[in-house]
Symmetry: C2
Subunit: 346 residues, 2 copies
């Protein structure tokens, strides 16, 4: 496809480890409820209508670019579209978490999971990616994304979001082979999905392992990390960012995964993160989203401190998790502006 | 008070760092829903009836001692009785989390919080402690407990349990002095409460900082750790165990708090925990509660591996968080038996 030339390549340069004048900035869940223009579309269309209609997904993806001036766009979608592609019936009601109506309960349920034709089942995502890429007109690069196999599995086996995903973990301990079957399919399907997004126009992709941190280091190495690595190995044509929340203990190993960058939550300090990851990989994060409730002046101060601790190069300024709905837009703006106003000579 | 002589002092010896033939074992939330005899009383009495009636609290505390043969009893109660002592209206409905009906919303609400007469407001707890201690008849020692100031504050300001306690954190960032006022009172009231429990017969006390791990290392050092330390400094007459879930990053500092032992969740590996804490403090934990869903044979194998990694001395075998309701009693029994059957010569 012939897309307009990229004007702001700060984000892609940071992922490649090239020298930049300042770090790029975007925010996880930047197309979200804290934006009044998001809430307008939220009131009119259901969650999956917004995901499945390329025009709506495009509008939502572009909102924070126009409003805040971030350095990257991230596709508006949801990690659970992959569950739908695998024939799970997912609903997300307003004010509630997601629900899987036909969760995996038995070994037979697990072995019945078959590799889907992702490009066909999720064609609307790829249509949205291409439409967004055109609409962006080269302003900033577009990030595609997917959930990690472990995190998707959590929902498939638990049936809903819970604090500890005990049922999902129990399933893995009771039926390790059945769990590995599903996790393997999720890894291959996710790699195919990310490759299709890249082919459709995504210039980088991020894998969200939101529930990796519920696992002990040993379990993470059995139930999550091998599948993250399998995805990285299969994805080509764009850099991969791995974000495994709460997984400070596997940073050293993950730095060797082949990913271009690792996302961090706010519990891992910049100096320790650099030390654990060896200093040669791009790091992304890790502003505590609840700190966006502080005053714009304090946000600026803390963002500048964060950048000086991570360093300007091999770094993408971001939050340590998705932005929360109650953040005033001016505070999100203060976050973005603070990154842009950073100067190492102070 | 004159209590019967203690027959099994394994737990207290481990807390003192004395040499033992095997580690003591107990389980967080061992008086809980996984026990059929617990569910019988649960069906008859409300949660707070069970907490407030010394006879019921005694019966519930003793159930796992009789059934499983653990090496320590822990008072049946709830961390939120402290909220009640501070005039917050708390309800815990079956199948739901706790709810505070008059949460802290304004600075004025926070400054209205006054130091309570804990021994008076929570006299029923101290009555239960004395009754349990007598009923135990020296079989095993009795552990008292309380929630940490930060964790209690989370509920007071959030009004309910949530994933990120964003409102509670936001309150601290918006009104740091008002938050410090409440946290300071909570620390002093908690120290007084634990001292009253010790006077009534508790032979060790544990402070649960269940939500410490939601804080960045810097915020933990402002909002939680100073108050944990203040409690340790004020409590006397019995060893203090600090359990801050998810707070791997502060282990080094917490080892210097004056606490007799530190509790660990399952995300911190034994060798790293020993390294971070300097090897001279007793560690407690850290079996993943969901691993109790594995087979009794696997539980035994993993428990033995855990003990050999922590070492027999300065160690209390426990879970890394409370036991979950769905665990078969035989699996809890397998956990306890595995600790008792451990022999370093293998």
């Amino acid at each position: 496809m012939n897309f307009p030339e990229l004007k702001n390549d700060l984000f892609l340069k940071a992922l490649k480890g090239e020298t930049v004048e300042r770090p790029p900035v975007w925010m996880m869940r930047q197309a979200g409820r804290y934006l009044p223009e998001y809430r307008e579309l939220q009131a009119k269309y259901s969650f999956f209508q917004r995901c499945e209609t390329p025009e709506l997904a495009t509008e939502l993806t572009l909102q924070p670019i126009e409003r805040l001036g971030v350095d990257a766009a991230i596709l508006f979608s949801d990690i659970l579209v992959m569950a739908q592609a695998l024939d799970f019936h997912v609903s997300i009601e307003k004010g509630e978490g997601p629900r899987i109506h036909n969760p995996i309960k038995t070994e037979a349920d697990a072995f019945a999971v078959k590799m889907p034709d992702v490009a066909d089942r999720l064609h609307y995502v790829m249509s949205a990616v291409t439409m967004i890429r055109k609409e962006l007109n080269g302003k900033v690069p577009l990030i595609g994304f997917a959930g990690s196999p472990w995190t998707i599995f959590c929902y498939l086996a638990e049936g809903e979001g819970t604090k500890d995903f005990a049922k999902a973990k129990a399933f893995c301990f009771s039926y390790p082979k059945a769990a590995a079957h599903v996790l393997g399919i999720l890894a291959d399907a996710t790699a195919a999905y990310l490759n299709a997004q890249i082919e459709a126009g995504a210039q980088a992709v991020q894998v969200f392992d939101s529930w990796g941190g519920l696992l002990s280091p040993e379990d993470f190495n059995v139930l999550s990390y091998p599948y993250l690595k399998r995805i990285v190995e299969q994805v080509s044509g764009a850099p991969v960012i791995l974000f495994a929340k709460g997984v400070w203990y596997a940073m050293e190993e993950m730095a060797k995964s082949g990913a271009a960058a690792l996302g961090l939550d706010w519990c891992l300090e910049p100096e320790l993160a650099r030390k654990l990851t060896g200093g040669n990989i791009t790091l992304q994060g890790n502003f505590d989203p609840t700190h966006l409730l502080k005053s714009p002046e304090e946000i600026k101060k803390e963002v500048h401190s964060m950048i000086s601790r991570f360093g300007v190069n091999r770094y993408v300024a971001n939050l340590g998790h998705g932005i929360i709905p109650g953040i005033p837009v001016q505070h999100a703006q203060a976050f973005v502006d603070a990154v842009k106003s950073y100067s190492p000579i102070k």
